[in-house]
Symmetry: C2
Subunit: 382 residues, 2 copies
């Protein structure tokens, strides 16, 4: 037994009325309820051998179940339990320790994003297109940056039409929306989105009118010779965290009041209500919805209308503060890749008579992207 493994070696186990008290060789104590242990049995009649899905009925376990015998086996590497009906459960120590639900262990497992402001411009999370396209390590690093910062800037992607879909396809399949699978961002004569004009776009989150707006957005610059057209990026989670400190009442309103968003054209009428700042039930940031272009007329209780406008102004002050945003002029071959429900993006106005500005974009969902990252890291073991 080395120290490195001490955390996964079972030292002692004591049975209580409702749970087991396990002490590990590194001194840590875990408590596992009897019902939890029965539920997580990994034998072939509880966990399907091929699909690795549970075939045991989690929802129907006897609440008073209690093992008849408990022992430490395999030289401390395994916890063995025998249930009243004779069913046998053997749980590997390393498997069990990783799932300890003590407060400390749960806190350690909590994933927190790295929040940023304008200082990130000095040290941009950058990736070379070749690395992301050709190597597993490059791809893993690329997705990890998107996960941690909500942002990665890819350099030197071939300026060929469709290359952005090839890059995104390295992560997972593309997400289709009312704008299609891939889309061209340039000034168009008959736009169905203000992005397809030359006007300024304040930093915003795309498709805020969807129940499930796409997760990761790719914007590949093919040409940016027009005057203006600087890209603006803001970490919405950092801004929301600042709002929580500075104006807790505004933060509360924006996380508790659902605002209506809507997009309409000849073929679509996409509507959804959502809070501006969505939190998990534990208070972690889930997503930001912020896009004036897609706001539908607010349908709020009368006495919330003015406070909500005030809260939005308060959040906007933070979002548009130069200390929190970065501005960069994309050149041909650059791709900005960002978590669309976290990092707001915009652009300054440009002059379509002074040159061209053409980006190509597409989306990949977070579900599949984080899955890909876990598989690349070898975490997909059960």
């Amino acid at each position: 037994m080395t120290n490195i493994n001490a955390g996964t070696i079972l030292s002692t186990v004591e049975s209580d009325t409702r749970d087991l008290r396990v002490t590990w060789a590194d001194g840590h104590v875990s408590r596992f309820h009897h019902i939890w242990l029965r539920d997580n049995c990994r034998c072939p009649s509880c966990l399907h051998v091929q699909t690795r899905e549970r075939i045991h009925d989690t929802y129907g376990i006897d609440p008073n179940i209690r093992p008849e015998a408990v022992s430490i086996t395999d030289e401390g590497h395994q916890l063995s339990l025998t249930w009243p009906d004779g069913h046998q459960t053997d749980l590997p120590g390393n498997w069990l320790r990783l799932r300890c639900y003590s407060e400390a262990a749960r806190e350690e497992r909590r994933v927190r994003p790295t929040l940023w402001g304008s200082e990130i411009l000095k040290n941009l999370p950058e990736v070379q297109a070749g690395d992301a396209l050709e190597t597993d390590e490059g791809l893993q690093d690329f997705i990890q940056k998107i996960r941690d910062y909500g942002l990665a800037v890819v350099r030197n992607l071939d300026c060929t039409e469709g290359m952005v879909e090839k890059l995104a396809g390295r992560i997972s399949y593309l997400r289709q929306t009312n704008y299609g699978v891939g889309f061209d961002v340039e000034s168009k004569p008959d736009p169905n989105n203000v992005a397809y004009t030359a006007i300024e776009l304040k930093a915003h989150t795309d498709l805020a009118n969807w129940e499930s707006p796409p997760g990761i957005q790719f914007l590949h610059c093919l040409d940016n010779s027009a005057e203006g057209g600087e890209s603006v990026l803001v970490d919405g989670f950092a801004a929301a965290e600042m709002l929580r400190q500075r104006d807790p009442e505004a933060f509360r309103l924006l996380s508790e009041v659902e605002l209506p968003f809507r997009f309409i054209d000849k073929h679509w009428d996409l509507r959804w209500h959502a809070p501006t700042i969505s939190l998990s039930l534990q208070g972690d940031f889930r997503e930001i919805r912020y896009h004036a272009a897609l706001c539908a007329p607010f349908d709020l209780p009368h006495d919330l209308v003015e406070p909500v406008y005030a809260a939005l102004r308060s959040f906007t002050q933070i979002l548009r503060d130069p200390a929190h945003e970065i501005r960069l002029k994309m050149g041909p071959g650059d791709v900005i890749v960002f978590h669309n429900r976290r990092v707001l993006h915009g652009r300054s106005a440009f002059d379509p008579n002074s040159g061209r500005r053409k980006l190509q974009g597409c989306y990949v969902d977070c579900d599949d992207a984080w899955s890909r990252l876990r598989v690349l890291k070898g975490e997909n073991t059960n």
Copy 2:
């Protein structure tokens, strides 16, 4: 002026410090805040003429803005406002009345699903495949049934491979998942999902391990000659509503505690935490996540572990009560179409030696489906 239009004819308008008090010809009173009226100006410099998106900056309006002049114009059909900077806002009466945010008007606009139990079997929401495939009216009726009941049974769809994708494609594009775009449900030698075996599947929601599980599921029966294999369907919203009445503490726990779900195979590692019963901030049902096969080991605070198992048992009792579920044996040509995050589905075990059981399935998202319904109903006017 007829009575039918009285609700959209402006009778009087009085200006208060913060809002306008509008009385309509049918006697209803609406109050609109000055800031709300300025925000919702529909002139070409506030609302983009082509994209119909807002180009006015909702987030930056002067909180103390107040119109200098207010009048009723166009014989009561329009409210006209002049702002201190000379900007002019004209709002049609019918547009305005539809957006009245009085408590009564907001309550009227609230969409409520039609909850059901086993009695729905006597009066199934049925659709003929030909109607849904060939006519706009049939398609509208089809989507409306899915929206209201979370369930529609389609009859007489050609038993040709891929037909289910054609039917689903009438609503919108298909949603891709780790199971691909379309999938075959039959007993397979090397399954990566328990659905691809012959064992019983308790009623569940699919892909509970996704941040955004697919919305509408289609299952087309091509062959069901095996013994067993009856389909089971339960309205999860109705069951949750019953739990709210019967066991409020269990309901509270299941709507406030996020449980972990996970699916793993060689290529995927998809994980998400979510409450079993998700509510909107107004308390309306949003979605159900219930699938033992995909439960990851619970990582809850120690004192919640047993209460959560108890709450799940309590919900399970309702979900598996024959009074709340329907059972039907699909025949070739039948398609069950259901809101996967509302209606739980399952099947009894079947005997693969007694005959064949083959379904083909696919998903469409709710965002696009409800959009399609609004467009078919002609609601996509701004």
